[in-house]
Subunit: 135 residues, 2 copies
């Protein structure tokens, strides 16, 4: 956990305090974080533009990857084994329609190829009710 965090910092240009703050949030749980949530939670510590830019840098470094949910909001989740040059972690996500939480799933979902088309990435979002909201 702590080790991978250090690896993360190695990938980006400057390991500032604010960058560390962002990375630590992603280390805590195996959940994605929405930018709206992050800018709110960090509003006293840094400007929202800074949040956007740090997330952008983290993505380019292969630390996190981004996607949009069906409400049009942008989310980020930590990558597993990606780098600045190789973004290969395309795990599926699960969003609870009750609480909005997005979990990162470790399952592999095989996708068939399509003739005459080049598939570069696959985004899979399962939607339903999460463990907490189901009971």
């Amino acid at each position: 956990m702590q080790l991978s965090c250090i690896n993360f910092i190695d990938m980006i240009r400057r390991k500032t305090k604010k960058v560390e703050t962002l990375i630590n949030l992603f280390e805590q749980k195996n959940e994605a974080l929405s930018v709206v949530d992050l800018t709110n939670r960090l509003s006293t510590q840094m400007n929202k533009t800074t949040v956007y830019r740090i997330l952008d840098r983290l993505e380019q470094s292969g630390v996190v990857h981004s996607f949009n949910d069906s409400n049009g909001l942008r989310w980020y989740a930590k990558c597993n084994g990606c780098s600045a040059t190789k973004h290969t972690d395309t795990h599926p996500h699960f969003q609870c329609t009750d609480c909005g939480t997005i979990e990162c799933l470790s399952m592999e979902i095989p996708v068939p190829s399509i003739s005459n088309r080049q598939i570069n990435s696959v985004e899979i979002m399962l939607k339903g009710t999460c463990e907490r909201c189901i009971s």
Copy 2:
């Protein structure tokens, strides 16, 4: 083609000229249409608010379904065998990162269930280069 179009109109409350215009656009190709594109193309024929509202009604009627692409734009595509009460057509989509076009795919991609979670829908987006842009 023409028959299914008539079925479509039966599902919604009033078959106005503008509603027919929208439905006809979806009948033409097996491609999804972005709301931004639609409001632009129809800007001389109807207000953008009307476009949004008609699409909303068409979705509630089971004529089309909506989703968001990774650029945060909302898209609509025609449903296959859905109704106001049963939205079961969850076909995957393919978006070309060159031209932006989104195709509806007829393939079935099996998704495993997750313990302690209720999966209600699955959204799958393949990204890459389409037939036209690949050559």
